[in-house]
Each structure stands twice: as C-alpha cells, then as structure tokens.
C-alpha cells in the first residue's frame, strides 16, 4: 500500500508538471496584459524539437534547451504579430496553436517509429534512499524540481522586484504605465518569450518524461487545460501548483479508482477541471463586484498602441 501511495504521488507529479510549466509561463504573459492562446502549439513544437534532438544527439540537456528555444521561436512570431503589428491576441494565439500542431506533425513524420532514452528521476545517494521522505521528496525527475523553482522565481519576480511590479502595472493599465515612461512593448515581448520557453519545457516533459515517444497531437489538449489553470489560480503563482496538482491528481486518481473497480464516472471526472475553472471565474466575478478586485489583469488581451 505504501509503495502504491508513492507510485500514485509520482504519477500525479508527472501528470501535473507539464501543466505547471505551461501555466506559469502563461501567467507571466497574462500579468503583462497579453493573452496567448497559442500554448498548445508552443508545447507541441517543444515536444517534437526536444524529442528530435534527443534522438539525434542523445543529450538530455541539449534536448531541453532545444525545446526552450523552439517554444521561444514560436512565441517570437506571436510577439511580433501582436506587439509590433498590433494584431488581435485571440486570433493570433489560435493561429499559433494551429500552426504549431501542423508544423510539429510535419516535422515529426520521421520520428513516429523511434524511441529515445527518457529523462530519468534523480538519485541523490543517501537522500533518495531515505524511507518515505526519499521517494516522496528526492526522487522526481529534474524537470519537476525546475518547474517548482520556476513558480518560486515567478512569484519573487512579480512581487519582490521592481521590474515585476512594472510588468504588473503594464498589465493593469498599459496607457498609464506608458505615460510614466515604461517600455510596454519591450516588457510584453520579453514576457511572451518567457511564456514560450516555459511552454516548450512543458512540451518536452510530455515527450521525454511522461512517455518517450513522439506522436502527432500528443499534447491532447493540455495547453488548454493550462490556460484554464491560470484563471483557476486567479493569476497567483503558487495557486498554479495547487491547481496543477488537483488537475493532475484527478486524472491519475480516477484511473486508479477504476482499476480498483470503484464506480466513478470517468466522463464527469474529466469534465471537472473545466467545471472548477468556471466556478472560479464566477466566484471571481461575484467577488469583484463587491470590492475593487485586482485579480485579473485589467488590460488582458487589449491591444496597446502608444500613440493613442
């Protein structure tokens, strides 16, 4: 039973990590006032790029870096279109997702029959062997720790650094921020790049940790769950971890429950993440009527033009 418990916890961490990556990146993007619906596209391009590099060079570090760069390249396209050419965020983001899914399928043609070495869990002599604590704290894959670290860093950046506060100010009122001399476009451009990098990491997690294979469309909607997660977290970094663990937890626990013959309706459970997001949205709405609530970046998704 103890062993099973540990396996379930590991399973949940594996299901949650790609969501944490994608969501924490998108959180920064949205805090700067940009809505990037291209998460799914950036994730899957990260997944195929990392997989392909791992296949050719068998070097995990290189593969992970490549996936980051791939995510950032797609993000650059998005940033250029929305920040320089001032296109609509929603339409551009959707286009990015379609582009990412298509181009990854095209690139991935020759990789669908091969397998690669996955990124293994770390093993710290002494620590990983401790009873209970060892497997529960010191036995995940390195990317899992990186994702948690990323959340801490984002929290620190947004709340404790001047640049973070400026980024939030831009997200809340880009005209005012611009008026007092902040570089709105530059901040947003960098935020979008960060979002791309994190989405790339989320993608490579799927193709090099969860199952080391490449199949077309393997993100299977996780980018959209991550988008919902940002709202669920009401744009607070730490709540992203909580939300991701709940989302991941539901998907793993329902499989285990079924294996034990517990009568759960899997359809309802798979609806749950979205249902919870809607509930959170409604609650936020109700709350923001009663007091001046600043949870949602006020300029989210609005196009900024400096001469207006």
């Amino acid at each position: 039973m103890n062993e099973l418990f540990i396996q379930i916890v590991l399973g949940i961490s594996i299901a949650s990590t790609p969501l944490i990556f994608a969501a924490i990146g998108e959180l920064v993007v949205e805090r700067s006032g940009v809505l990037n619906l291209g998460l799914e596209g950036m994730m899957i391009v990260g997944a195929i790029t990392g997989f392909a590099v791992q296949f050719h060079y068998n070097n995990v570090v290189l593969a992970v870096l490549a996936s980051i760069v791939a995510g950032m390249m797609l993000a650059t396209v998005f940033a250029f279109l929305t920040q320089v050419l001032l296109t609509n965020h929603v339409a551009t983001g959707l286009a990015l997702t379609l582009f990412g899914l298509g181009v990854s399928a095209f690139w991935g043609r020759s990789y669908s029959k091969v397998t690669v070495d996955r990124i293994d869990a770390i093993n710290i002599p002494g620590l990983s062997d401790l009873p209970v604590v060892g497997p529960l704290v010191f036995s995940y894959d390195p990317l899992f720790y990186l994702s948690i670290m990323a959340v801490f860093l984002v929290w620190y950046f947004l709340n404790k650094t001047k640049k973070g506060l400026i980024l939030r100010a831009i997200g809340d009122n880009h005209d005012a921020a611009h008026a007092i001399g902040h570089k709105v476009v530059r901040y947003r451009f960098l935020a979008i790049l960060f979002g791309g990098a994190m989405a790339g990491l989320g993608g490579v997690y799927l193709s090099l940790v969860q199952v080391p294979i490449w199949v077309e469309g393997m993100t299977a909607g996780r980018g959209w769950i991550a988008l919902a997660l940002v709202v669920f977290a009401s744009w607070q970094p730490f709540k992203v971890i909580v939300g991701a663990l709940i989302f991941g937890g539901i998907s793993i626990l329902q499989l285990h429950a079924q294996g034990y013959g517990v009568n759960v309706d899997a359809q309802y459970l798979s609806m749950l993440p979205y249902l919870m997001t809607i509930i959170v949205l409604v609650t936020l709405r109700v709350r923001s009527k009663s007091k001046s609530d600043r949870v949602m970046p006020h300029c989210l998704g609005k196009v900024f033009h400096s001469t207006q």
């Binding site: 899914l101 969860q210 199949v215 013959g261």
Partner: protein, 361 residues
C-alpha cells in the same frame, strides 16, 4: 474541441486544394477516399487503415486516385468532410471509425450516387456497406496467452469507449484467460479517448502499480506498450505490430488487415458491381492476423496459441461458446451454444460473469 474543428477544416481545405490541383490528371481513375479518426502515425488503428489504402493504390496504380483525411472528429465535422469529399468526385468513401455512423448515414442520404463503407458500424443503406472484423477472435488468442503468462493473475485492460466492439473484446479476453487460469482477475480502465498517449501511459502505469503484469489495450497509440516494456511487463500490440516499441514486452499483436477488402470494394466500384453488403471477417478470411509470437512464450503456450489460431482459421472455434452467464448471473448461452451476430454480439452491452467491474453509462 474548437481547435480540433479548426484544424480539421484547414486540413479539409488543404485536401480540397490538392484535389483541385490534381483534377487535371489523366484517364479517369476511380476516386476513393478514406476518413481517419487519428493520425496515420499512431501505429495502431489508423495506421493500419492507411496501410490498406496504400495496398489499393499499389494494386490499382493509375486506375485509382486516393484521398485520405486524418484526425477527423466524430461529429458534424465528419459529415462536412464527407460532403467535401463527395463534392470532389470521390465515388467511394471509407469512414473508418464507429462514431462516424450517423454522419455517414446523413452524408449517404445527401449523396445517393456515392458509395459509403462504414467500418465497425451496423446501419446500412443502399449506398452504405458496413464492414468489420471479428477482433474478438484475436482477443481470444491473446486472452489465453495472458492467462498462461501472468504471474500476478491480474490483467490490466485499457478501454476506450463503452461501445459493443470494446465490450466484446473485454469479454472475449476474459473468458479465454479464465479458461486456462481460474484465478484470473481483470482490471478495466476507461480512458474515454481512442488516442491520448499521455493518458494511455498513465492508465498502463496505474494498473501496473496495482499489480497487473499484463497489459491489454483497446486504444490506438503505442504508449501502453512502451510503459510495459519499461516496467518489464508484457503487453499485446493493438491493430498493428508494435514490436519495435516493446521488443521484450510484446507477446504478439492483433493485426487488422484491411488491404484485400479495400481493394475488392474499390474494384467493385470501378466495375460497377458494388452493392451494399455487411462484412464481418475474421482469422479465417485473413482480416484478423497476428504478429509473430514472442520468443518469450514457453513451448506449451506457443503450441496452445498456434492451435487456437489454427482452429479459428478452420472455423471450428468460436470464442463465445456456452455455457456463459452474464455478469448478473443470468444465463446467456447454454452449453455448446454460440451467439448470433445480431443482436447478441453486435449490440453487446454487458460483461460476462466473473468480471468485477461496471460498464460506464
């Protein structure tokens, strides 16, 4: 869902561009189209249909022009794709997933001159044929192998959707395993998707963690096979030979061989002899085949499997031969009795006695 819709519209658009470009081609080839539920790179269900489509092309050469559309959602999208293909002059359209049943029906009524071929369904019209394979014959063989090979007496079964086809597979596997191993237990996990490698892997892992040492799947990707390989467990390829993903894990695979059927049907359209029929072929006709048996099978298990395959090929073995009770204990088949194809097999919505699980509603 939204994005998939868009993706598909774009694919349709691209397909139509290709059709437009190629419509100037030479001497009147027969135009045939295939609609797939997943990507051809799944190395499972869709891949195998595509192998069938390529088989037709190989044998008919310039006499046929084939269009394929991948990853089409089961719903209104599918009907739009069918209409598009019909408008582009395709004379025969193969719709290769159970969920295309109603879209196929609607499209067939709109285009009475186009022949439709719907895989695994049961609704026919003058211009809709249905075809499927007796996959449960394959399940019978792998069920018996599983019953012999398991050490924990637990089989993990990854199921997609609670439709008759999938339930038949579960029942056939369980009955066969039980016939050689009375202690066998089957854990069934529904993932509600035909193709979600991440989820299939999670499901395989969950069942391995719960003590299953043999994984069976009724989903289309190779993820479960990989998980079995990594964890030192056994598994069976689904629809296609997945041996390259699980060289140690794969004991054999059930292979769907659609090629000869597709060739025969497209040629029938070309000759003007096509008519609406219902095909349900199995091991005997070659529509259900097996990947080479693994070297890991002991001689007695291998002999048993070969004997069953031989009897299936000869038509002397039916995987559902009574006495069999339903899960609730009520009688289904009397001793020696075999069920009729319709309604018993084609609409199967119950587990057989001994399965400790419930079919999701």
């Amino acid at each position: 869902m939204y994005k998939k819709g868009l993706t598909n519209s774009i694919k349709v658009f691209m397909t139509s561009c290709i059709l437009f470009v190629s419509s100037g081609a030479a001497a009147e080839p027969t135009k045939a189209a295939f609609i797939y539920i997943g990507p051809t790179g799944d190395h499972g269900w869709t891949y195998q249909h595509d192998v069938g489509a390529k088989y037709v092309k190989k044998h008919m050469g310039d006499d046929v022009e084939i269009t394929t559309v991948e990853s089409v959602e089961e719903g209104p999208d599918a009907e739009r794709v069918m209409a598009q293909l019909a408008n582009k002059g395709n004379e025969i359209i193969f719709t290769t997933s159970f969920g295309y049943m109603n879209p196929t029906l609607k499209a067939a009524k709109r285009f009475p001159n186009v022949k439709f071929e719907h895989a695994t369904g049961y609704k026919r019209l003058d211009n809709i044929s249905t075809y499927s394979a007796r996959f449960y014959e394959g399940r019978h063989v792998i069920g018996k192998i599983a019953g012999k090979m398991t050490k924990t007496n637990v089989i993990g079964y990854i199921a997609s959707f609670p439709i008759p086809e999938v339930i038949r597979g579960i029942n056939a596997s369980y009955l066969a395993a039980k016939s050689v191993n009375p202690d066998i237990q089957i854990k069934i996990v529904w993932v509600f998707s035909w193709f979600d490698p991440g989820k299939e892997a999670d499901a395989a892992k969950a069942m391995i963690d719960q003590g299953a040492d043999i994984i069976m799947q009724h989903t289309d990707s190779t993820a479960a096979m990989m998980m079995a390989e990594e964890n030192g467990m056994y598994a069976f390829g689904q629809a296609s030979d997945m041996g390259s993903f699980g060289p140690n894990a794969q004991l054999t695979a059930i292979i769907d061989d659609w090629g000869p059927y597709y060739l025969q049907r497209v040629q029938a359209v070309r000759n003007g002899t096509w008519e609406s029929i219902d095909t349900f072929d199995g091991v005997r006709e070659g529509m259900v085949a097996f990947a080479p048996l693994s070297d890991r099978l002991p001689a007695d298990v291998r002999a048993m499997a070969l004997q069953d395959i031989g009897e299936l090929a000869a038509g002397t073995l039916h995987p559902f031969t009574g006495p069999i009770n339903k899960q609730d204990g009520s009688a289904w088949l009397a001793a020696g009795e075999t069920p009729p194809m319709f309604p018993d097999l084609l609409t199967m919505d119950f587990y057989v006695e001994g399965i400790d699980s419930k079919i999701p509603q």
